[in-house]
Symmetry: C2
C-alpha cells in the first residue's frame, strides 16, 4: 500500500510556517500500520496543484491532502482537484448542510462567501468539519483514494480522527493495528538506552522499539503490530505488550519517569497532590524555569506555595537566610549553599518540601573549579536535608537551564517515591 | 526560475521529526528573490530517491537537497544521485581532504567508515562541511543544478551560507537581492496592524509588507527587492527602506517593541543595563515565566536581583509585605494587591524597579467579576508606583501566562523609555 501526503499553501513555501500537519498525519497512519512514502508541499497555484494530484493518482493508493479549502481567492485545492479529475465544481448540498449546521449552532446565517467552500468536484463525498466552516471531501482518482482536509491544525486533526480514519479502516479493510507503549526516560542518553534494551526483539517476537530524543528526555516506544480482534482475543495482545513494558521497566529501573506520557512536572504534581504535600522552590541558575514548569500544570496552586529566584547574594541571605559565612567560605555555587537555600525556602513558605538550584548556566561565569554546566541541587523535606553537585554542559544557556531544572525535579520525584 | 527542495530521511516520514530544514531554505532563497515552488520529502529508499531526483531534473533549475549523507547504511542520497545521473560513485579526493582536515583539527584520524562519505558521483564538486564530517556536493542533471547538504540543521545551515549561497549568486548571475526590515509589534492583532498600514504599497513603490503572528507578538516585514549595486549606489536603496521603516513606525507608534529582531526581554535587559537599573519581580499567575524569560538573556545577572513567585496569600504577606487588609478587602487579584506586590518586591530586593502580576491563568478559578484571563500588573520604580487591570483570554493556561508576562514586560519597557 502506497500512501502519500500533499500539503498546499504558500505559507510553507515562503518559510512562514513549518508544516506540522504532515508529521501528525505520518504518525497517525503509522498507528494503522501504514508508512508514508512521500510528502509534497506546493503553493497556492491551481496548475501545480492539479498536476501534482494527477501524478499522485498514478502512483499511490491513499493520499491525504491538507490546506486550500477556505473562502478566499487563494484557496484553490477544490478547483485543482476538479481539473485533475476532469470534473466540474458543483454546489454540494451535503456540504451546504454541514456548514449551515455549524453556523446555526453559533447563531449565524451562512453567507455567499462561505458557499464557495461548498463548491466541490462532482464526484466528491463530504467530510464534515466540526471545528470550522470549510468542509473536507474525499474522492477517487485513478487507483488512489484522496482525502482533502483543511490546513488549520485543529480542524484537520479532528476531521482526520472523526471522518478520515474510520473511512481508511473500512475502505482498505485494515485488519491490523499498532499497539504502542510510550515510556519517558531521564538521565540516560539515547544510545545508552538502546544498549540497555539489547535483546528485546529476540525476547518479544513481533514487537520492536523506537527511540526519540526530546531533550532532556528520551522517549522509548514499544511498537506491536497486531490483527484487529474481538475485545476478548485482543486482551492477549495487550498482556504481551504489558509483559514487554515490564521487562523494559526492569532494564531501565528508576530512570523511567513516566509510563503514561505525563511530563516530569505533571508526575511530581500528581505525587505531591496524592500525598497532600506542599512545595516551595529556591532557584538561582534556573532563573524561574522550575517554577514556570511546575505552575504550567493546571491545579498546581493546590501544592505550589512559593518560589524565590535569588540571583544576588543579598537575596539569598535576606529571603532564604543562607548564612553570610557559607557564601564567604564556599561561594554561591556549592552544596552547602544549595542545602541552606532549600532549607530556607521551605522555612520561608512553611512548606513540606523545599528544592533549590545554584549553578552556572553560562555562557559566561565559569571557572576551572566550577565550569559552565556546574549545578548544586538541594532538597529539604520531612526527615531529609541533602544536596548534590552535578556537572553538565549542553552548549547553550537554555539547554543547561533545562537540564538543571529536570535534574532538580527528578531528585524531588525520587524522594517522593522513596527511591 | 524554478526552485525546489528535496528532503530525504525516514525520520520525517515516520513523524519522528518535523522538517525545519526546508523552512530555513525557503526563507533563505526568498532573500535572494527566489520563491520555492515545491518541497518533497522521501524516505531512505534508493530507488525512490533516484526517481524523485530524475523528475526534479526535468522541471527545475535549482534544487537544494538535505539528508542522507552520513556514514551508515541508511544514508543513500549519493547513491540515489549517481543512479539518477547514470554515473559511478568514486572516492572524491577533495572530499577526503576536507574530511581529513576536519578530523585532524580534533586530533582524530579518518577511518574507513568515514571514507564512505567521500564516495560521490563522478561529476560532483565538493561543498565543504565546517561543522561535521559529511561533505556536501553539487552537480548538474538535466537543466537543474543540485546542491546536496547534510540533514543535521547546524551543518546544513553553515554549508548553505558558506558554500551554496555564493554559488547560487554566481551560477545564476543573481543581480537582485531582497532588503528586509523586521519590526516586532506587541498589543495589536495581525489584522489591526494590516489596516493601520493601509496605503503602504502606494506610498513606497517596489516594496511590500509581510505579516507573521508569533504569539503574543506580530512581526512586520518590509520587503524590498533591489538590484545588487555598488555600495555607494546601494545606499540610496537603503535610505528608501529606512524612510519606509520610519513611516511604519509612525503608524504603529509605541506598539513596536523592537526594530532589530530582539525579543522583548532582550530589549528590557538592554534598557536596564544602559540606565544601570536593577530589577526585582513578584509573580503570581505567571508562575515564574517572567523570571525565566528575563534570565534566559545572557548577562541578566547584571540587572536581575530577585524574583518571588507567590501563589499563597501567606507568601504574599510574609515575603512581599502585602497587607492582610488589602487581601481581605480586595482579594489576591486586584490592582491594590499588584501595587503592593511590586512595591514589596522592590523593597525586599532593594532594586530600582519592581514589577508584579496577579491574576487567573485558568482553566479553573475564574468568577463573574474576575473571569479567567484577568490580570493585574504593578510597577514600582523611581518616582512611580502604579498598577493596571487587563482582561485577556487566549483559551489556554500557557497562552494566558505568555500574554500576562509580555504585558508586564511591555509596561516596564514603556516606563523605562518614558512613554
Amino acid at each position: 500500500m502506497i500512501a502519500e501526503i500533499l500539503s498546499t499553501g504558500d505559507e510553507v513555501l515562503l518559510g512562514d510556517i513549518v508544516d506540522t500537519n504532515s508529521g501528525f498525519l505520518c504518525e497517525k497512519l503509522l498507528d494503522l500500520g501504514i508508512t508514508v512514502s512521500q510528502i509534497t508541499a506546493v503553493g497556492d497555484e491551481v496548475g501545480q496543484i492539479s498536476r501534482t494530484l494527477d501524478q499522485i493518482a498514478q502512483r499511490a493508493d491513499i493520499c491525504l491532502v491538507t490546506g486550500g479549502l477556505g473562502p478566499t481567492s487563494d484557496d484553490l485545492t477544490a478547483l485543482g482537484c476538479a481539473r485533475a479529475a476532469g470534473e466540474e465544481l458543483i454546489l454540494n448540498s451535503n456540504a451546504v448542510e454541514t456548514m449551515a449546521l455549524f453556523f446555526q449552532k453559533r447563531g449565524f446565517e451562512i453567507d455567499q462567501a462561505n458557499k464557495k467552500q461548498a463548491m466541490l468536484p462532482a464526484s466528491a463525498g463530504v467530510l464534515p468539519n466540526t471545528n470550522g466552516t470549510a468542509p473536507g471531501f474525499f474522492m477517487r482518482m485513478g487507483q488512489c483514494c484522496f482525502y482533502f482536509m483543511p490546513g488549520v491544525p485543529s480542524e484537520m486533526m479532528s476531521m482526520y480522527t472523526d471522518a478520515v480514519k474510520p473511512r481508511l479502516v473500512d475502505n482498505f479493510g485494515l485488519t491490523s493495528q499498532i499497539l504502542i507503549e510510550r515510556l519517558t526516560i531521564f538521565g540516560l542518553g539515547e544510545s545508552r538506552v538502546g544498549s540497555l534494551l539489547k535483546g528485546f526483539e529476540n525476547k518479544f517476537a513481533g514487537m520492536h522499539l523506537g527511540f526519540r530524543a526530546k531533550f532532556p528526555f528520551v522517549e522509548v516506544k514499544i511498537v506491536y503490530p497486531v490483527k484487529i480482534k474481538s475485545d476478548r482475543a485482543g486482551n492477549t495482545d495487550r498482556k504481551q505488550l504489558d509483559a514487554a513494558s515490564k521487562w523494559v521497566l526492569g532494564c531501565l529501573e528508576n530512570k523511567v519517569i513516566s509510563k503514561t506520557g505525563q511530563s516530569l512536572e505533571q508526575e511530581v504534581g500528581s505525587l505531591l497532590k496524592e500525598k497532600q504535600f506542599t512545595l516551595a522552590i529556591a532557584e538561582s541558575c534556573t532563573g524561574g524555569l522550575i517554577s514556570n514548569l511546575v505552575t504550567d500544570v493546571a491545579g498546581s496552586s493546590d501544592y505550589f506555595l512559593f518560589s524565590a529566584v535569588t540571583y544576588s547574594n543579598e537575596a539569598k541571605m535576606n529571603i532564604l537566610k543562607v548564612s553570610q559565612k557559607t557564601l564567604e567560605t564556599y561561594g554561591a555555587v556549592h552544596e552547602q549553599t544549595a542545602l541552606e537555600m532549600a532549607r530556607g525556602v521551605r522555612y520561608a513558605a512553611n512548606s513540606d518540601w523545599g528544592i533549590s538550584t545554584t549553578g552556572i548556566a553560562g555562557p559566561g561565569g565559569g571557572t576551572q573549579d566550577k565550569p559552565v554546566g556546574t549545578v548544586c541541587i538541594g532538597i529539604a523535606g520531612p526527615g531529609i536535608e541533602t544536596s548534590k553537585r552535578y556537572t553538565f554542559n549542553f552548549g547553550s544557556r537554555s539547554a543547561n537551564k533545562e537540564m538543571f531544572a529536570a535534574t532538580a525535579l527528578e531528585l524531588l520525584r525520587r524522594n517522593l517515591i522513596g527511591k
